[in-house]
Subunit: 342 residues, 2 copies
């Protein structure tokens, strides 16, 4: 024998003995994998309760060849979108008795992405969720072996067979259209200078303009994180003729642009309307209160888990995988007071 046993926590055998049945029967009871005689059911239930028995996930995992858990590979761990999505995933997973492992993919070169994926997979999770908010998610997808249930969260269309994405492009279109409806003849767009996917708010801006037969100008790009440059861009816009409406790709950008506009002597929203995107906590307190668009990351997380769970169940039952699907989670405009009719 390896070491002394001295159970501190009850194991299935203890339950079986107390209920006067065999361990497999307890197992079947627990997993609903066979019918159990009513009297035995009762005795088992009572024994579990009396002992405070909780099955060992490790033992179960060893037997099942996989854990009742899912791992999320998160490309931008410090962002609100990530933590809100995580929370949604966790809530949905918990209902199914699944545990959540988080492994972050930030700040990593490609080699390290692979190492982290291997590490996350070492527990043999039943499935994985990859957040494709950043490039690291894309890399992770490449090294995750086939056959393990996967859903891609937050990418563009076509990045995976199973995806849940937010209606970002639609949101951008909506916001732009809103400005157009207010009578503005043109809406300018300021964005960070980084690649955006197909499903981007920026493309939504283009969609709206095209829909109205307006020639789409170049968007104004600002080096990532350089708020001062965004202020400068705002100032420049403020001096330019014919600028009456601006859709900023993020609230931060909107605020910086407003600052620049003021430096150029323009008033918001009287002279120029400015709206943002993301609905950050401070928007309502801003002067003027900033109109924005909110995305429902918590909902995304929940749906992503459910989509993953369907695959997991199909795999466990040995039936066909559900058909490929992409779910789109709607967001919602938050109208405040930073825009006005033209």
């Amino acid at each position: 024998m390896a070491r002394t046993t001295g159970h501190s926590r009850p194991v299935i055998k203890d339950v079986a003995k107390l209920a006067d049945v065999s361990a497999p029967t307890v197992s079947r009871y627990l997993n609903g994998t066979a019918k159990i005689a009513e009297d035995k059911r009762k005795r088992i239930a009572a024994a579990i309760k009396e002992l405070g028995y909780e099955p060992s996930m490790a033992a179960r995992a060893l037997s099942n060849q996989e854990m009742d858990s899912v791992v999320v590979f998160a490309s931008k761990p410090d962002e609100f979108s990530t933590s809100a999505t995580n929370h949604g995933v966790e809530a949905a997973a918990r209902k199914r008795g699944f545990l959540l492992n988080i492994v972050s993919l930030d700040e990593s070169d490609i080699a390290s992405v692979e190492a982290r994926v291997r590490m996350g997979l070492a527990v043999r999770p039943a499935g994985v969720l990859v957040y494709e908010y950043g490039w690291a998610g894309v890399e992770a997808l490449k090294v995750i072996p086939q056959g393990i249930p996967t859903v891609v969260v937050g990418g563009g269309f076509g990045d995976g067979d199973y995806q849940v994405i937010n209606a970002e492009r639609e949101g951008g279109r909506w916001m732009t259209m809103h400005l157009l409806d207010l009578g503005h003849k043109m809406v300018f767009h300021v964005q960070w200078d980084q690649e955006t996917g197909d499903n981007s708010r920026t493309n939504g801006w283009r969609d709206a303009l095209k829909e109205q037969g307006i020639d789409v100008p170049e968007s104004i790009t600002v080096p990532v994180g350089r708020l001062d440059k965004a202020v400068a861009a705002g100032k420049k816009l403020g001096r330019r003729k014919g600028v009456t409406a601006i859709f900023a790709a993020t609230d931060e950008l909107a605020i910086a642009v407003i600052k620049g506009l003021r430096e150029a002597g323009r008033k918001v929203p009287q002279d120029i309307s400015v709206i943002g995107f993301d609905d950050m906590a401070f928007d309502a307190l801003w002067e003027p209160p900033l109109t924005s668009y909110t995305q429902n990351f918590h909902e995304m997380g929940q749906r992503a888990f459910r989509m993953l769970f369907e695959q997991i169940q199909a795999k466990r039952k040995g039936v066909d995988m559900p058909p490929a699907q992409v779910e789109i989670v709607q967001g919602r405009p938050c109208l405040r007071a930073s825009e006005a009719a033209c």
Copy 2:
């Protein structure tokens, strides 16, 4: 036999066979638990590499009676403090080959806290971290059995044998002192109407005032989340004689107070200085740029894991637990332009 084997992933036996040694030898190699002849080491290393072998954490956990993982019980999953701390924990855990499980404790009644703790413990994690930013953390602590390595994160002094907390009280003292140093004779304090622990910024405010021999007034409380009430409180303060400096317990509160002050016709910082706490993303963009105080949650998370890991190692080696300890993580003032000399 239970089911057909058909190894998709290599197991220790495969490595052993390829390296022409026994499985226990591979195990000892992997865990450094015995000396291995040099030639065998080489063969084993080569075999592992060739096969792309990764030990099964589940099997290991079953044998070791515990998993190489830690679980965090997070009382306020949606807050920045939580996700930043998580990230720090995860980074430190990863270096030790430990996985992180997150179980959130929000929105739960007491009964559900207990169920979640049981669930989190079902994997037999090597240790647990409980975030005591909210009451749920306190409850969780009550139901976590003795003997499992635990560290309390973000509570007050004395909430556990092992704690890491931020220098919040000291931060509050520092901020208040800063205002006093600028020549203000009194500093008022606005806070949310919720219980704050011993280690609170509010107590730091009291500390500073007392230190300077100033009678400590009642702090001004605002119902949680009611920003409009905070604006009203600011307005009231603006009309009151002799108010020259306000330390708001959070940046949101500071901004709302400033709004109220302006409604009362006062200028910030010319007439009245206002500073916040937490250093939120928008502070620098505010008008005026808001002076605040930043806490290092990422660092807290890292230290918390390391403190936990020491206990885990002690327990595994069977040596004495490290002495009880509380580590304090320093924050840092972020001086901007919302305060001025009196």
